[in-house]
Symmetry: C2
Subunit: 150 residues, 2 copies
């Protein structure tokens, strides 16, 4: 699993010093399936560095965000982070409501969308939420397969 080292190298190349915390942080993001809140990051790191402070977590998240190593996402419950997509092409995501893992959707709805005249499109967002194959209920328990909902 060289993903961690790849992230570390990416940070190093951009002028950051590689501290133990940052290496652990890189590994955390490399192995995390979904999105992480600053608190998730803190809790995880804290196990390795008992003296860790929250401001270091925020500072490193900020730096990694500025460097493009991670991406930030504003959920209703708050801000979360994940590794930047390696996918070079334009794509969208399916996000698992259980494990928060993201899967790429390569088709883009934009070309087929009828934009009322006069509106100048700059960017768009398309996200599908649901349960991935590992997290979906085995049976049809409370499986409300409501594909239609805002």
């Amino acid at each position: 699993m060289g993903e961690t080292e790849q992230i570390v190298r990416q940070m190093s190349e951009k002028g950051l010093r590689i501290t133990e915390q940052r290496r652990t942080l890189a590994q955390l993001f490399a192995e995390a399936p979904g999105y992480l809140t600053p608190k998730d990051v803190y809790d995880h790191m804290q196990r390795f560095y008992p003296g860790l402070s929250f401001d270091t977590v925020y500072r490193n998240l900020r730096v990694m965000l500025d460097l493009g190593v991670v991406e930030q996402f504003a959920f209703e419950e708050g801000v979360k982070f994940k590794l930047s997509c390696e996918e070079p092409h334009h794509h969208h995501h399916m996000i698992c409501l259980q494990c928060e893992k993201t899967l790429p959707i390569r088709s883009c709805p934009m070309p087929a969308t009828d934009v009322p005249g006069g509106f100048q499109v700059v960017k768009h967002k398309f996200e599908v939420y649901g349960y991935c194959s590992e997290c979906r209920e085995p049976e049809g328990e409370s499986a409300v397969a409501e594909g239609e909902k805002a």
Copy 2:
């Protein structure tokens, strides 16, 4: 413009007492073109009620949210509110980056989206950002018409 009264009645029917603040709040949302932050709301209301406190704003936003009178939206910059869509049918939005006004998109990309097997779709989000006819630059100044962008 009976929109304000319509909102007020909606609140009243659901058991809320109609205070002057709430009437002003209803009017504010009825007339606001785009999204409002709690601070926007506070600043506006403050002009009419100098003694207004922030907690009242938050409490009323919460109540109106629970009642479905307004909708909450998590932007990167923070949480914002707007009147709930009157549109009864499933739809999506174009959001103006300048005035934040929202316009409905009635076509839904979901049916045409190829969802990888195993993923159980629960809900989705599709939003188009850009400039509405009133806010778009008159000429092609820095009009980067880049319809393609994450």
